[in-house]
Structures are given as C-alpha cells and as structure tokens.
C-alpha cells in the first residue's frame, strides 16, 4: 500500500469524518474539523510507530501534518533522509 493510502486508512479509521464528506488529499485536516490538538498527538504517535522515526518538535507544523498530501511528502522526505544517512555511514554516496 502506498504511503498516501496508509495515511488515509489511518485517518478514516481513527478520526471520524462528517457524514459522507469526501476527504481530498490536499484538504486541511484542521479546517475540516478532523483533527484537533489531541488528534495531532495520535497522528504523530502513529507515524513514529509505523515508519520508525522520531518527529522533532520543529516538525510539528501544518506544512508537514495538515493534509494527507503534506503528511506523505513529509514521510517520504524523512525516509529518504534516513536512507541517505545510512548510505553515508556505509561509505557509499
């Protein structure tokens, strides 16, 4: 399953979407009333557990976490970054 789908699945299962409202990839989760301050905590815990990285304080911003698209891009970047650091440790470039 793609990262985007995994996130969509998590959000649909753990947060309640109003009626049959469709959630677009770029819709703001905050403005749509899907997550609030405690919802963000749950989302962060899920991401850290699923993708095995730590989210820094400075990364707790809407640009990283406020839509399905932002979240998947953020994860993609985090995963690429950790792969690069592993590569560097291996002496590869």
């Amino acid at each position: 399953m793609s990262i985007e789908n995994e996130i969509r699945k998590f959000i649909e299962e753990n947060f309640i979407l109003e009626g049959d409202d469709h959630l677009g990839d770029e819709d703001s989760l905050l403005e749509k009333g899907i997550i609030d301050s405690t919802g963000v905590l749950e989302l962060v815990a899920f991401l850290e557990e699923t993708y095995h990285f730590k989210i820094k304080d400075e990364e707790l911003v809407p640009e990283n976490l406020d839509s399905i698209k932002n979240i998947s891009q953020f994860i993609q970047n985090k995963l690429n970054f950790s792969r690069e650091s592993v590569d560097r440790e291996d002496g590869r470039s």
Partner: protein
Amino acid sequence: MLVQNFLEESAHRFPNKVALIHKGERLTYQEVDQKANKVAQWLRSQGIQRGDRVAIFLDSSAESVISLFGILKADAIFLMLSPTLKTQKLSYILNNCQAKALITHTNKLGVVSGVFGSVPNLQFVIFTGNKDKIPTSGCPNPILWQEIDFLNPQSAIRNPQSNNASRLATCENIDLDLATIIYTSGSTGNPKGVMLTHLNMISAATSITTYLENVPEDIIIDVLPLSFDYGLYQILMAFKFGGTVVLEQSFAFPYEIIKQMIKERVTGFPGVPTMFAILLQMEDLKKYDLSSLRYVTNTAAALPIEHIKRIRDAFPQAKLYSMYGLTECKRVSYLPPDELDRRPGSVGRGMPNEEVWVVDENGNRVGPGVIGELVVRGSNVMRGYWGDPEITDRVLKPGPLPGEKVLYTGDLFKMDEEGFLYFVGRKDDMIKTKGERVSPKEVENALYGLEGIVEVAVIPLPDDILGQAIKAYIVRRNGYSLTEKDVLRHCKKELEEFAIPKYIEFRDSLPKISSGKIDKLTLKQEIGQ
C-alpha cells in the same frame, strides 16, 4: 464606564500601537477602533437597537474582535459562539436569545445554512470569507463583511460633548446593561446563557489585571477560543491596559505557537491543563528562547502537581498562576505564585474586590477544613441565565445586603486556616474534559437520537491529557448491529469535538437502582472511581 471604552481609551492613548496580531496581520488600536465604529454604524443603520442580541460565529480572527466591539458600540449585546458548534445547538442558541443578526464566515456554511429555516428572529447575516460562496437563497439578507469595511468612517455620528472622538453619540447604555451572553453547558443538556453586564465584565477584568500586574508592554498569546470566557477576557483585558494580543486559532500545532511566542516576545501565556500536557510532551522546551515570558496562567481544571513542577522548570523566569473560576462570575480565585510551593494543590484566595466563603447544605458558613459549597460575592457575579428565572434562582440567592444576590457555584470546596481554597468536586455530575464543561445528559441525549440504541450511560474517566475522558456505555436494541464507528459518526454530526466519547463500550444491560434509573455509581465503581 462601558466595555468598549477599553478599546476607545487605548485608541486614544496609543493610536498607533499594535493591538492585535493574527495570521501575519497587525492591527493598531486606531484601526480596530475605526473598524468597530463602522460595524456599529452599519448595525444601527439596519435597525439594531439597544439591547438587541447579535451573534458572532467565527474562528478566532480580527473580525471576531472588531465585531464584538462594534456590537457593543451599537448598544447591542454580543454573543461569541463556539466555532465548533453544530447546527442544532447553534439554532437552539439563536432562538433562545432571539438573535437579530449573525456575523459568520462562508467556511461555516455547512453548519449555518442548516439553521436559516428555523430562526425566525434572524434579520440579516454578515459573511466574512469568500464572496462567491454567499448563499443566494434561503439566507435572510446576506451581506459581505467587506462592504461594511468600505463604509466611509466620516459618516459615523460623533459626539461633540465627548472628549473621545470615537465614541458614538447614540450610545445610551449604562454599566448595568448587558454586554454579553455567554452560553455554557447546562446539566439539563441544553446550554444556558450567562448574562453579564458591562459592570460585571469591567469588575472582573479590573480584578484580574490587578493581580497579574499587567502593564501596556505585556504581549499576550491567546490560543483559547473566544467563546470561552478565559479566551475572550485575554482580549478585553489587554485592550484595557493597552497591551498587545497575539491571537491564534488553535493549539493543534504546538511548535507554531512556540515560534510565535519567540518571534513576538510574548510576556503572558494563558493555558489549560490539556495544552500544558501537550507542551510537556515536546522534547525539550528549555532549548527555546522564551525568556520574555513573564507569567503563565492555568484555569479550567487543576494542573497535576508533577506538571506544575515541569512547567516551572521549563519557564524558570515566569510566574505560574493557578486559578479557578466559572463563567457565571468569570474568575473566583488565584494562587499568588509565591504560595505555589507551600500549597501546590490550592487554587488560592478570592481575587481583589471579591469575597468568597464555603457553606453547608443549610447555607451556614463552615470552618476551615470542612467541605461545602463555594459562594461568591462581587460585582463580577452575573445577572442570571437568559430567559430562565427558575434556574437562575437556584444559583443566585440572597446575600448579606438587602436586595443583593450572591452566587452559589455548585462546586464543593474546603478552605484552610488562612483562607486558601481547595477544589473537591462538583455537586452535579458535569464532566470537565479538555478544559470544557460537558453535560453527560447532552451526550446521552445525542446518543439516544441514534436509532438502535436502547440505553446509554455517560461517565468520566481520569485521563492524563484531557483531565477527564468521556466514556459511553451503550445497550443496543435487539436486531441492531451498530458499531463503534456508527456511533462516533453520529456523534460527530450532533456534538462538538470535545463532547464526543473517547471510549465506547457495548453492554447487554446496564445496572439499575431500585427506581429503575441507571446506576452510574456502580459503573464508576467498576472502573475504580
């Protein structure tokens, strides 16, 4: 003195000082005052009269602040409604106080358009937001906010006698008139409208700014909803002493708030326990330069003692005020920060210009260490609940002077030898979650509205982040296979976010007491409460 004078006098003293910072926009006192004058002038031109109710249903924004002062300048009464209200409750409130006008945003149409058919008193609706989304039918007299903003300020009627040019000549209110009605959860399930006069609000604001020792240099970050008196008063108080408010819409992304605090050199940070619990989950608050922070305040629910320690550790130079209050009188008490080490579990003593005591069931004062109901006497005590003299009489009772009323808070307290207060519990079964008061009855009523549910009991569970979490026990009707998701989806439509149960448990039956009522005590005991 009227509440809008806070703004007018600061606009006179500091016309070019920044009053409000929101989403990158910076408005000076003069700008806020002029915009509020236009709103007042427009409301008057549309027939809004002294004492009429005008509702504001917006996310925290410059428009909410401008509107509330504009409404006051028009001698009307403002209602700051929670931006998370659902259609049914919005319609209930608008009808309950017979609001004549509504100021909202086109992003709220999902909720707002559902009320138009059921609010006969509503005469017009002002929309901020997207012009193209303003409804063309169904909505009573829609108008775009920008049209009001483009009015010529010169046409505002001025009072030549007033030394303050911005005061509207038509202002007839005195400080005994109502300034606002704040709706809070009631134990019957429907919200109650707390009526507050100008004098009530000015008294509370004066007492609080006195003990917080506010100065015009203070910069307050306001992350709390303005529908919550705690969030609203941050604006009123800062405008009173001529400070600056950094208004934020939400605490969902705590690092955004930290960044704003650093950037704007914030000096005052009002919060509730849930916000502090979230902040304390961050890696290391100490690495941020929050040295400008002069004070931190907490109310709505008590902070765990461990959190008090960690907050002081994170903001060593800031004073931490533990406070307690209820909408009916705004604030009751505060603990002077230098008492925190000696009595971390106390919410302090009555604030300046206010008297508090504890009574037994017969209304007699009790001595130190004895648990009883807290009574409040002061000019900050409300006029009552809108349109509900019966419930008003239950909480406002005769005081020591002839004709005077004092507030029976419904909260159980004990006092120590030196008059410091310790919260014990509520007399009723209201739940305190995320800093909000939730009536179990309201949640139960919403759940009974879902087909397939026979019995429901809602109780609080202790929760590290929320203070209390809501748990619902549900008995399904035979033949119905409702799932947790079905229930939550229904709740989302009917209830505000904080009132949605966090835990749902399906049972075959619920324990009963002899009268046949559901025995919540047994349910609470099962979970060790």
